[in-house]
C-alpha cells in the first residue's frame, strides 16, 4: 500500500521531497534556485579563503603581503589606535574605562524598571564622570586636551550626549508645539522644522566654520564642543517629535483630572503627563540613538577623530599601507555590534509594548 506523501517532510528527513516542494516548484523558482546556488558557490569559498584560510593573524606587513589573505595582524597591531585614537598611550585605560561606563549605563537603561526620573540624572552624572576621566587634570590624572580624544569613546560621547543633553530641550519643544499660546507654538514649530530641514553635515560645517565668526573677538570655543552643540541642537528636533508622539498618546482625561484637582500647568505636566508619556518615548528614542550613533561619523569632515576617522589614521601608517578592507571591516564590526544590539533591543521593546506590559 502506498501511503500518501506526508506534506511536512523536513529538509533533513526528506531532502528530495523538500527541495522539490520549496525550491523547484515552478520553472521560475527552479532558475532562481540555480542562480542563487551559483552565486553562493562563487562568493562564499573565496571569502572564507581570504578571511580565514589564507588570513594572517599575527605577523608583520611582509608576512601579510606574502600570504595574500586578510591581514588581521594589522587590526591586532592597530586596535588601540582604532579604538582610542591618538589619546596618550599610557593613559588609554581611561577611555577604556569610559567605554565600559557607557556600556554599563546602556545595560542599566535597557530595563523598563529603570525608566524613572533618576535615569536622566544617572546619565548626566555618567557623562560628567566620562568627561572627568577623559579630560583628567584632577586626582592625579594628567590633563588630556580634547583634541587628542578619539575613536570609540569620542563616538560614544558625541552620540549619547547628543541624545541625553538634547532631551530637556526636546521636551520643552514638544510641549511648546502643543501649547495654547500661539507665539510659543510657532517658535517650537519653526525650530523643529528648521533643524529637521537641514542635513547634519551642514550643521557640522556651520558649527565648525560659521559659528566662530559670530563670537566676539578673543572668545573661542573648541571644535569638539561646537560639534557637540550642533549635534545636540540637531538631535533635539528629532527627539522633540518622538516626545510629541508620547504626549499625544496620553488620553485627554488625564490632563482634565489633573486640572480639576487644581494642579497648575507645570505640576500637571511634570507629575501626570510626562511620567506617562516619556515611557512611551523610549522605544523611538532607541531608534533615534542608532541614527545619531552612526551619524556622528560625519564629524570626520571637520577633523574630529571619531571611530571612523581613527581607523583612517591607522590606515595611513606607511608600513601598513593597503589594508583598507581589514581596517574598515574592524570599524564596521564595532558599529555593527552597537547598532545591531540596539536594534534587537528596540524590537524586543516593541513586542513588549504590543503586549501592553510597559
Amino acid at each position: 500500500m502506498a501511503a500518501p506523501l506526508p506534506l511536512s517532510g523536513g529538509l533533513l528527513s526528506r531532502p528530495l521531497a523538500w527541495s522539490r516542494r520549496h525550491l523547484f516548484n515552478s520553472p521560475t523558482n527552479a532558475v532562481m534556485t540555480v542562480v542563487v546556488l551559483w552565486l553562493l558557490w562563487a562568493t562564499i569559498p573565496p571569502v572564507v579563503d581570504w578571511a580565514l584560510l589564507k588570513a594572517v593573524w599575527v605577523g608583520d606587513p611582509a608576512a601579510c603581503r606574502a600570504a595574500g589573505g586578510a591581514c588581521w595582524a594589522f587590526v591586532g597591531q592597530k586596535y588601540r589606535l582604532i579604538l582610542f585614537g591618538i589619546y596618550p598611550y599610557e593613559e588609554q585605560w581611561r577611555p577604556l574605562l569610559a567605554i565600559v561606563l557607557f556600556i554599563v549605563l546602556m545595560l542599566v537603561s535597557a530595563h523598563p524598571a529603570s525608566w524613572r526620573r533618576w535615569l536622566f540624572w544617572l546619565w548626566l552624572s555618567g557623562l560628567a564622570l566620562v568627561a572627568l576621566l577623559m579630560w583628567g587634570g584632577v586626582a592625579g590624572l594628567p590633563f588630556v586636551a580634547n583634541d587628542r580624544w578619539g575613536g570609540l569613546p569620542l563616538t560614544l560621547v558625541l552620540s549619547t550626549s547628543g541624545i541625553v543633553l538634547s532631551f530637556p530641550l526636546a521636551v520643552l519643544l514638544a510641549l511648546g508645539r502643543r501649547s495654547r499660546l500661539p507665539a510659543v507654538r510657532a517658535a517650537s514649530i519653526a525650530y523643529i522644522e528648521l533643524w529637521r530641514g537641514v542635513p547634519l553635515v551642514s550643521v557640522l560645517f556651520m558649527a565648525s566654520i560659521m559659528f566662530p565668526l559670530f563670537l566676539p573677538e578673543g572668545v573661542t570655543i573648541d571644535k569638539l564642543l561646537r560639534a557637540q552643540l550642533g549635534i545636540i541642537l540637531f538631535t533635539a528636533a528629532y527627539v522633540a517629535e518622538a516626545v510629541r508622539g508620547g504626549l499625544q498618546a496620553i488620553p485627554r482625561g488625564q490632563a482634565e483630572a489633573a486640572e480639576a484637582l487644581g494642579l497648575g500647568y507645570w505640576q500637571k505636566t511634570r507629575l501626570i503627563i510626562l511620567p506617562q508619556a516619556l515611557r512611551l518615548v523610549i522605544p523611538p528614542l532607541v531608534g533615534q540613538f542608532i541614527t545619531t550613533f552612526k551619524d556622528t561619523s560625519l564629524v570626520i569632515i571637520i577633523g574630529l577623530y571619531d571611530l571612523l576617522s581613527s581607523t583612517k589614521v591607522a590606515l595611513s601608517d606607511p608600513q601598513w599601507r593597503g589594508f583598507y578592507v581589514e581596517g574598515y571591516i574592524a570599524a564596521a564590526g564595532i558599529y555593527f555590534l552597537f547598532t545591531f544590539s540596539m536594534s534587537r533591543y528596540s524590537q524586543y521593546l516593541e513586542r513588549r509594548l504590543n503586549r501592553g506590559r510597559i
Binding site: G253, Q254, E256, A257, A260, L261, G262, L263, Q276
Partner: protein, 248 residues
C-alpha cells in the same frame, strides 16, 4: 436641607464649539447643600454645562459664578474655583502610573502643600469611607471599574471641596458595580454636600435630588423637584425622554 445661599450661578451662558452652538442661554442656580440631577438625551450639552462650572470648558457669553468668584480668563479665578469644586468623570481618569494612595495624596501635597504624612492620613480616612482601604498600594489597573470610580470620588474628596460635580459616574460601569458607586454618592448627599450630577439613574434622582434639570439641544427645558418631574412633566420633550428611559 439646602440653604438660601447660592453657590453656583449660571446666567445666560452661551458656548460654541466652532460654529456649533452647544449651550444656549443656560441659567441655573444651585444652593449650598442642594443636590441637582441633570438629565437629557445624549448630545444635549449636559457635559458641556457641568464642565463649564470648573472651566474645563470656556463659555463665550454670560456669567458663571462659583462661591462668589466669577469665572474669567484670569488664572486666579480658575484656580480658586477648582480648589473648591471636585469632579468625577465617566472614565474615572485615575492616574495609572501612581498607586491608589498616591492618586489621593498628589493634589493635597502639591496644591495644598500638605505634609506627606498628613496627606496620607487624610487619604486613608477617605479610602476607608469608600471601603477600599485594603487596596491603597495597588495600581488603578488592578481594580474593578466600581472600585476605580470609588477611588476617583475619594481622590476628589481629599481636596475637601464644598461642591462635587459628577459627569455620568456610573455609565461606564458593569451593572453589578453601579450600586456600590451610587451608595457612596448617596452617603455624600446625606452629609450635606452640594452636588450636581449628570446621570441617567432615575432611582438615584428620586432618592436624593432636590431638583432635576432636563436639558435638550443645549437648553434647559425644565427644572422641577423629582416628584413633580417624574409625575407631571410639563414639557412634551421631557415626557418623550422619560417614556424612553423608563421603557428601558
Amino acid at each position: 436641607m439646602p440653604s438660601d445661599e447660592i453657590v453656583i450661578a449660571l446666567r445666560d451662558v452661551n458656548k460654541w464649539y466652532g460654529s456649533f452652538h452647544a449651550l444656549r442661554d443656560v441659567s441655573l442656580a444651585v444652593h449650598r447643600g442642594e443636590r441637582v440631577v441633570v438629565a437629557g438625551p445624549s448630545g444635549s450639552g449636559k457635559s458641556t454645562m457641568i464642565r463649564c462650572i470648573n472651566r474645563l470648558e470656556e463659555h463665550q457669553a454670560g456669567a458663571i459664578t462659583v462661591n462668589g468668584v466669577e469665572l474669567t480668563s484670569d488664572v486666579k479665578s480658575v484656580e480658586a474655583v477648582r480648589r473648591d469644586v471636585g469632579m468625577v468623570f465617566q472614565q474615572f481618569n485615575l492616574f495609572p502610573h501612581l498607586t491608589v494612595l498616591e492618586n489621593l495624596t498628589l493634589a493635597p501635597i502639591w496644591v495644598k502643600k500638605m505634609r506627606r504624612s498628613e496627606a496620607t492620613d487624610l487619604a486613608m480616612s477617605y479610602l476607608t469611607r469608600v471601603k477600599i482601604r485594603e487596596h491603597a498600594d495597588k495600581y488603578p489597573g488592578q481594580l474593578s471599574g466600581g472600585q476605580q470610580q470609588r477611588v476617583a470620588i475619594a481622590r476628589s474628596l481629599c481636596m475637601k471641596p464644598s461642591i462635587m460635580l459628577f459627569d455620568e459616574p456610573t455609565s461606564a460601569l458593569d451593572p453589578e458595580m453601579i450600586k456600590e458607586v451610587l451608595d457612596v454618592m448617596v452617603e455624600l448627599a446625606e452629609d450635606g454636600m452640594t452636588m450636581v450630577c449628570v446621570t441617567h439613574e432615575m432611582g438615584f434622582a428620586r432618592q436624593v435630588a432636590d431638583s432635576v434639570v432636563f436639558m435638550a439641544e443645549g437648553q434647559i427645558v425644565e427644572t422641577a423637584p423629582p416628584a413633580e418631574f417624574f409625575a407631571h412633566p410639563k414639557e412634551e420633550r421631557t415626557r418623550q425622554f422619560l417614556s424612553q428611559i423608563i421603557r428601558h
